[in-house]
């Protein structure tokens, strides 16, 4: 789409970010999907920006526990058998990273909305749907990886290395599914104009964390398995 902007856009002063207000939405952070703030619908408590970090910290600790269990278990006995990681994992990694990109695109679209430039923006919802699709594709790809391992005779209890492979990837995939739930929540709220900017930011941070976590797990598995 080609748009030549010859002069600065006219921004509705009501939609300008307030100094010091959390997020940069209107009242209680709401993101107007169609340009209007439906103020009366939001009864929830004020936005909290620290909560997502609480969640990410807990998830980090959980995977730290699994990681140290892996390292100790590998060193505690001689029965660790390495195997080649299914190659589809690398494709899945690219898919997940792509989904982070698409999520960021949708966030940029939201920023455009906030500035009142709705007429020149595509719906951010479309990019959220793409992210959702890529996320589902990732989970399906993980399932394919498990199927491939099963075909090679590597099950959960076959060897400690395969045990950790399944535990780590399955736990990660479960958390990705949780992230998909968050995306669905965001899409629904956006369509009803009750989405809060803070909720979108938190979901995005969670999603990007799933990326980073996956890359870490891939490295760990690649090094140790």
């Amino acid at each position: 789409m080609s748009t030549t902007v010859h002069e600065p856009p006219q921004i509705d002063p009501d939609r300008l970010p307030k100094q010091g207000h959390p997020g940069n939405g209107g009242w209680r952070d709401l993101v107007p999907a169609n340009g209007d703030l439906h103020v009366a619908l939001d009864h929830s408590p004020p936005a909290s920006s620290s909560a997502i970090y609480v969640v990410l910290f807990a998830i980090t600790m959980m995977f730290a526990a699994f990681s140290s269990a892996l390292i100790v278990r590998k060193g505690s006995s001689l029965d660790w058998q390495t195997f080649t990681l299914p190659s589809i994992l690398y494709l899945n990694t690219l898919i997940l990273l792509a989904s982070s990109v698409t999520l960021e695109v949708s966030r940029r679209r939201v920023a455009v909305f906030m500035g009142g430039l709705k007429s020149q923006a595509e719906s951010p919802a479309r990019w959220l749907y793409i992210t959702l699709f890529l996320g589902l594709l990732f989970v399906a790809g993980q399932y394919a990886a498990w199927s491939q391992l099963r075909a090679e005779g590597l099950y959960l209890a076959t060897n400690p290395s395969s045990s950790f492979f399944y535990v780590l990837t399955a736990t990660h995939a479960l958390h990705v599914l949780g992230g998909l739930g968050g995306l669905i929540y965001v899409i629904r709220k956006l369509s009803k104009s009750t989405l809060r900017r803070n909720a979108l930011d938190a979901t995005a941070r969670y999603w990007h964390f799933m990326d980073v976590l996956w890359v870490y797990l891939l490295c760990l598995l690649w090094m140790k398995l």
């Binding site: 002063p13 009501d14 307030k18 010091g20 207000h21 959390p22 009242w27 209680r28 103020v39 009366a40 009864h43 408590p45 004020p46 936005a47 909290s48 920006s49 620290s50 909560a51 609480v54 969640v55 910290f57 807990a58 998830i59 980090t60 600790m61 959980m62 730290a64 526990a65 699994f66 140290s68 269990a69 100790v72 278990r73 505690s76 006995s77 001689l78 029965d79 660790w80 959960l156 209890a157 400690p160 045990s163 535990v167 736990t171």
Partner: protein, 594 residues
């Protein structure tokens, strides 16, 4: 342009309908009361279990009337079998540590009062908060279900060491389904507590009212905040450990089960696992867990004492930093549970140093609490008695830590009653006293009625003296070599100690009976207690500025503004010798917050 930072001008509707108001409530106060109710039930179940244990230890072959109704195989004719003793003991420990000591001081009081003390309408995620209670409740039901499965509950102790926790029923009764139920229950419990931390931490960081700086938070709020941070790290490690143990049990993996094991003549199919790995994961959670049990008590007791001393403590900041130091150090000391476990002896030495060092913040807390009494105008009531009793009990329980922190001495004291005495004094008594103090103090605000003071004092006296009679002798038993987790004492060298056990049992039964006085007082006062004024203790923090009991949005639609530090006592104001945090009145402060 409307000013969005002013107190909320629109009111959201209060909840309607019985289910929304009392069952699946989003109101943090209802959730707090639900947690309290859960802890209350758990406490009496746990106490009943301890009675049965103590009776069996003192009179091993005597039948306990009615016990066969609970388990025909566990107690034929009412006489407890050794395995049933261990099963009851495991449930006692698990119920008390998780469903009483983590639930009441932190989840119950914290849920009710943290949002009010910071000046918020509710927690930021009421749905997750509601989920946190119901997940915890489900965890309790799952655990209790193990009483009713054919084999009974697991007998491996609340610590569930590997490989006993993973090899299945071949190792003993309860080690099949019982273990699975235990692991599932505890994994659920971890989820519930993580959801709780998810609310507590943002409440403290993001939802404070105007004028409520971090240093103006009451000590109880700080304690809940620090505890929720500890819980975040600790429970997030226990849950994966439980998952791995369940997998070893049902999926044939070998995370914790070593090779070539033969149990009762039966070869075990697992191989290669690390026995000590479970201990490392468990105690990395387990040690912070005991600080999760005590830190809210420290905050609550300080909060109550200050109100009853009519003067702030010597240094608000120091107490906060000390609680924080306890939290941070609690992660570095966990190996002191493993000194003789077979881990590297250099690691044992390494863990002993932070364990000794953690004495320093504990001492600072005791010193500040005690020496703040100097020059105070101490009021004696049920709440302050339990708060003062907390200090005495925390000292008593803490000094035995000096011994256990040293690996060389631990050689003689590990797995003896000395350890049992130590942790019962700090957890089973001091932390419980914190719960009692909080109850007597906050009951008026939570229910709108006063508790009976006379009954409260009787409850205190019997509990204080009784608890010492029960748990002080445990230390002597331990020093004499009395091993713990024994269902009876056939060994020659233990025979002279049996009379001590009988004394302890009698003390336990009497002290336990005294807790029924508390239960009666609680229930009777709830319905027929004297109506309570909004601020019966002439206290300063935000919870006393609300109506009694507080409405669904705590402050009636208008968020408070905070003008003062939390403990402005000993001043001259229109209210008396104190000024509330929300009062705009300027007063001559005698005490600067340091």
């Amino acid at each position: 342009m409307h000013d969005m930072s002013a107190p909320a001008v629109h009111h959201h509707a209060p909840p309607t309908g019985f289910i929304r108001k009392h069952v699946f409530s989003l109101d943090h106060k209802v959730i707090g009361k639900q947690y309290y109710g859960l802890a209350l039930i758990a406490a009496y179940v746990g106490m009943g279990l301890s009675w049965m244990m103590r009776i069996h230890l003192a009179w091993t072959d005597a039948p306990i009337p009615g016990l066969q109704l609970l388990s025909k195989t566990g107690a034929p004719g009412g006489v407890m079998t050794p395995e049933y003793y261990l099963q009851l003991m495991t449930m006692h420990g698990t119920i008390m540590v998780f469903f009483v000591l983590t639930t009441a001081p932190f989840a119950a009081f914290g849920n009710f009062f943290l949002p009010i003390q910071v000046g918020a309408e509710d927690m930021p995620f009421p749905h997750f908060n509601m989920m946190s209670f119901w997940v915890t409740f489900t965890a309790f039901i799952v655990l209790m279900a193990s009483f009713f499965v054919s084999d009974g509950p697991t007998l491996g102790g609340w610590t569930q060491y590997a490989p006993l926790n993973a090899v299945g029923a071949v190792a003993g009764p309860g080690q099949g389904t019982g273990v699975i139920l235990w692991m599932t229950s505890i994994a659920l419990f971890c989820v519930g507590q993580l959801l709780g931390s998810l609310n507590f931490i943002p409440t403290t960081l993001d939802l404070r009212a105007k004028g409520m700086s971090l240093m103006r938070l009451p000590l109880s709020a700080w304690a809940w905040f620090i505890t929720s941070c500890m819980g975040l790290t600790a429970f997030a490690v226990l849950m994966p450990a439980c998952i791995l143990a369940i997998l070893d049990h049902v999926a044939g993996t070998s995370f914790f089960v070593a090779s070539n094991l033969v149990i009762n003549g039966q070869p075990i199919a697992h191989s290669g696992g690390s026995t000590l790995l479970w201990q490392h994961l468990f105690w990395f959670f387990g040690h912070p867990e005991v600080y999760i049990a005590i830190v809210p008590g420290i905050g609550i007791v300080s909060h109550i004492l200050i109100t009853n001393m009519r003067k702030p403590i010597l240094s608000h900041r120091t107490l906060i930093y000390s609680m924080g130091a306890l939290a941070v150090l609690s992660y570095m000391v966990y190996g002191h549970h493993m000194f003789v476990s077979g881990m590297n002896p250099y690691s044992s030495l390494a863990f002993s140093f932070p364990t000794l060092v953690i004495t320093i913040p504990s001492t600072i807390i005791v010193l500040i609490a005690t020496f703040s009494l100097y020059g105070s105008k101490l009021r004696i009531n049920s709440a302050s008695l339990f708060a003062l009793g907390f200090i005495s009990m925390f000292v008593s329980g803490g000094v035995s830590g000096f011994f256990l922190a040293q690996p060389s001495i631990d050689i003689m004291l590990h797995a003896t009653y000395f350890v049992v005495g130590h942790f019962h004094l700090v957890m089973g008594v001091a932390a419980m006293f914190g719960i009692f103090a909080g109850t007597y103090f906050w009951f008026p605000k939570m229910t709108g009625r006063m508790m009976n003071e006379t009954l409260g004092k009787i409850h205190f006296w019997l509990s204080f003296v009784g608890a010492y009679c029960i748990f002080m002798p445990f230390h002597y038993l331990g020093m004499a070599g009395n091993v713990r987790r024994y269902s009876s004492f056939p060994d020659d060298f233990l025979q002279p100690l049996i009379p001590v056990h009988r004394f302890i049992t009698v003390a336990a039964l009497i002290t336990g009976a005294a807790q029924l006085i508390f239960l009666y007082n609680l229930i009777h006062s709830r319905f027929w207690g004297k109506p309570a004024p909004d601020n019966p203790w002439e206290a300063t923090s935000l919870e006393w500025s609300t109506p009694t009991p507080p409405p669904f949005d705590n402050f009636g639609g208008e968020l408070p503004v905070v003008y003062h530090d939390p403990y402005q006592y000993g001043v001259q104001s229109s209210a008396g010798d104190y000024v509330m945090q929300t009062s705009p009145e300027q007063v001559k402060t005698e005490h600067e917050e340091k």
